[in-house]
């Protein structure tokens, strides 16, 4: 593809995917400013390495991989520990009579589960697409989804979810 055309196509794709990119970044970082930075940085990095992209069809997973790495880089810089149980957020015992809303529950998931949950339910990506983005087998995607749902069920008291 001619360089100019390729760049134009790239910017068009960015515009088209910008909401999904934000959702995915927020799903990991749980912070709007950090998510903005992550997506912006990811776009710049993708632009820099655009010549390494061989097929248009693999652009989306390729871009999301860049964003994922950027998110974890920012998280590391912020020394944010993403754990299953964040006692500061949840001073009360999980599963107790105190209901944890969904956002908080998501925050409590391990990052690997949160990724697949975000991509599958929020970004509406298929298992196959998630496999391409995360570069993990489909079985792993499914098992993480299953465990994430189970955890969310436990955290949310089973009201909204049935496995």
């Amino acid at each position: 593809m001619h360089k100019d055309k390729k760049l134009k196509w790239f910017y068009d794709q960015i515009i088209e995917l910008r909401n999904e990119l934000f959702c995915f970044a927020y799903g990991i970082l749980r912070s709007v400013p950090e998510s903005e930075d992550a997506v912006s940085n990811a776009i710049i990095k993708a632009h820099t390495h655009l010549d390494s992209l061989r097929n248009k069809s693999s652009f989306k997973p390729w871009l999301f991989r860049i964003l994922r790495n950027e998110c974890y880089r920012i998280a590391k810089l912020q020394q944010k520990t993403i754990t299953l149980y964040d006692q500061t957020l949840y001073p009360h015992k999980v599963g107790s009579e105190y209901r944890v809303d969904v956002e908080n529950a998501l925050s409590q998931l391990p990052q690997e589960q949160r990724e697949v949950i975000t991509l599958y339910y929020i970004c509406d990506y298929s298992i196959k697409q998630i496999v391409e983005i995360l570069e993990i087998p489909s079985g792993t995607v499914k098992s993480r989804l299953s465990r994430a749902r189970a955890e969310l069920k436990r955290l949310l008291g089973g009201e909204y979810y049935e496995a």
Binding site: K3, D4, L7, Y11, I14, I15, R18, N19, F22, C23, Y26, G27, V32, S35, E36, V39, S40, I43, I44, H47, D101, V102, E103, L106, I117, T118, Y121, I122, L152, Y160, Y161, E162
Partner: protein, 479 residues
């Protein structure tokens, strides 16, 4: 999907906030920044690309030109011979190679033609063979070689003023070698020069040539033979170095004739008048040659000195009466030493009063040659004194002289003799016009003179009587 699932999904999605306006602005800003970067990058790349493209075109054109240059001048180096700067480059880059047989033959013939032209003094033809044309003599080696070759083939063959013959020699190339570097050639040619008399000599010539679009030309010819070096030494000893001539042909011819005269003819047995004639010719030829250089005055003076010396031989210095007497006897005995009656014409008149002296001198030589008289080893002019002046005035003198000639061997050694000379002054010089002896017991007093007197009394003239007396005495030694 069940209702709870849908609710779950909606809840999950609700957990993700809508991207704020700041996010969209940030993305737009990021894209704008990237686009600006793209434009600058493309502009630089375009300029760079254009520059590279132009540079490539220029470099390609240069490479093609160089290749064309190399190929053209590698195949035909003569094309570069007269091109400034290019000739230097082509020459520097060209290897030195041996020439092929055809070219070697061309080179040899060219040099042989030049040598023949030099030998014959045909410098017009020679000019056509040289790159410098008429200015070929500006190469000092070629000039010296031209003079040498002319001398080699014309010296001593003729006296100054005689005409040369063109078919004096033949030339044959006996050996040839040559190498080539671009348009320049170096050659070593050995020529056999054969004279009309059958004599041969060999000359090894070192030559430089150049090949241009107009053809092959000689730039320099020189020889380093022993004969040539001797010639140069001889030229220098006779003051011919540093001489240039406006009339080159006359100049080189003059030098050959001049050297021939100074080394051969000057001391030969040809008459003094002939030598004077040669000198006069040399003086005229030197003037025609229009010499240029510091040495010309020296040559003019040398020729004049030679002429003066020869003139002095023809016009002897004024001798006194005593010196004249001593000279007569010196030449008399010199005849006995050399076996040839000497020439007395410049000091003695042959007449009735001196005729018998000449027969006496002849008879003395005849007897010496016949062995009846001792030959002398050395004779030198001696001394004379006047014993008695019989008659004397400003222009005439008759006197008895005592003469002692220096003879270092034989019975005449150390002996003096008395002779009566009659002298007459002509111009400023004394000339002997009368000779007589009255004493001693030699042939003249005891035999020649009495016999002649006898025949005169018998009626013969003095010429007949003197001759008859001589012949009669000659029969005694040659029966």
């Amino acid at each position: 999907m069940r209702h709870n699932d849908r609710q779950f999904i909606q809840s999950l999605k609700a957990g993700i906030p809508t991207p704020p306006q700041s996010y969209y602005q940030k993305i737009d800003d990021t894209i704008a920044l990237l686009k600006k970067h793209d434009e600058e990058h493309i502009s630089v790349k375009t300029r760079h690309g254009q520059f590279v493209s132009k540079s490539l075109h220029i470099a390609t054109a240069c490479i093609v030109a160089v290749l064309l240059f190399v190929c053209t001048f590698a195949v035909k180096p003569s094309l570069a011979a007269e091109l400034p700067l290019i000739s230097n480059v082509v020459y520097a880059l060209s290897p030195t190679i041996s020439v092929n047989a055809e070219k070697l033959n061309r080179v040899s013939e060219l040099i042989k033609s030049a040598v023949m032209s030099f030998a014959m003094g045909d410098y017009t033809s020679a000019s056509a063979l040289f790159y410098e044309g008429d200015n070929w003599e500006e190469d000092k080696y070629t000039y010296a070689t031209a003079k040498y070759l002319h001398y080699l083939l014309h010296s001593t063959e003729k006296a100054p003023g005689e005409e040369t013959t063109a078919e004096a020699v033949s030339f044959t190339v006996v050996n040839a070698n040559a190498h080539q570097k671009a348009f320049r050639f170096g050659a070593v040619i050995t020529l056999e020069l054969k004279g009309k008399d059958g004599s041969t000599c060999f000359e090894k010539l070192y030559c430089e040539l150049i090949e241009t679009v107009d053809g092959l030309y000689i730039t320099s010819v020189r020889t380093e033979s022993d004969s040539y070096l001797k010639y140069i030494t001889m030229c220098n000893s006779y003051g011919l170095e540093n001489l240039q001539y406006k009339n080159l042909s006359a100049g080189i011819s003059f030098e050959t004739e001049y050297l021939s005269f100074m080394t051969v003819h000057k001391n030969s047995t040809i008459s003094t008048e002939e030598k004077l004639r040669m000198l006069e010719h040399l003086q005229k030829k030197f003037a025609i040659a229009q010499p240029d250089g510091q040495a010309q005055q020296s040559i003019i003076q040398k020729l004049e000195d030679e002429r003066a010396a020869l003139q002095e031989q023809i016009t002897p210095a004024v001798m006194s009466a005593e010196e004249l007497a001593a000279e007569v006897l010196y030449r008399y005995y010199l005849g006995r030493k050399s076996g040839t009656v000497q020439d007395f014409s410049d000091i003695m008149e042959r007449n009735e009063a001196t005729n018998l002296f000449f027969y006496d001198a002849q008879l003395a030589v005849d007897k010496t040659l016949a062995g009846s008289l001792t030959a002398f080893d050395e004779v030198e002019k001696g001394t004379a004194e006047i014993l008695e002046t019989i008659r004397s005035d400003n222009e005439h003198m008759t006197a008895r002289f005592y003469i002692k000639t220096k003879i270092t061997s034989g019975p005449m050694r150390g002996v003096g003799e008395e002779i009566i000379f009659t002298l007459e002054k002509r111009d400023t010089c004394w000339i002997v016009v009368g000779y007589d002896r009255t004493t001693d017991d030699g042939v003249y007093v005891n035999q020649l003179k009495p016999l002649s007197e006898q025949y005169k009394k018998a009626g013969l003239s003095w010429q007949e009587a003197d001759e008859k007396a001589y012949k009669e005495l000659l029969r005694e030694i040659k029966p």
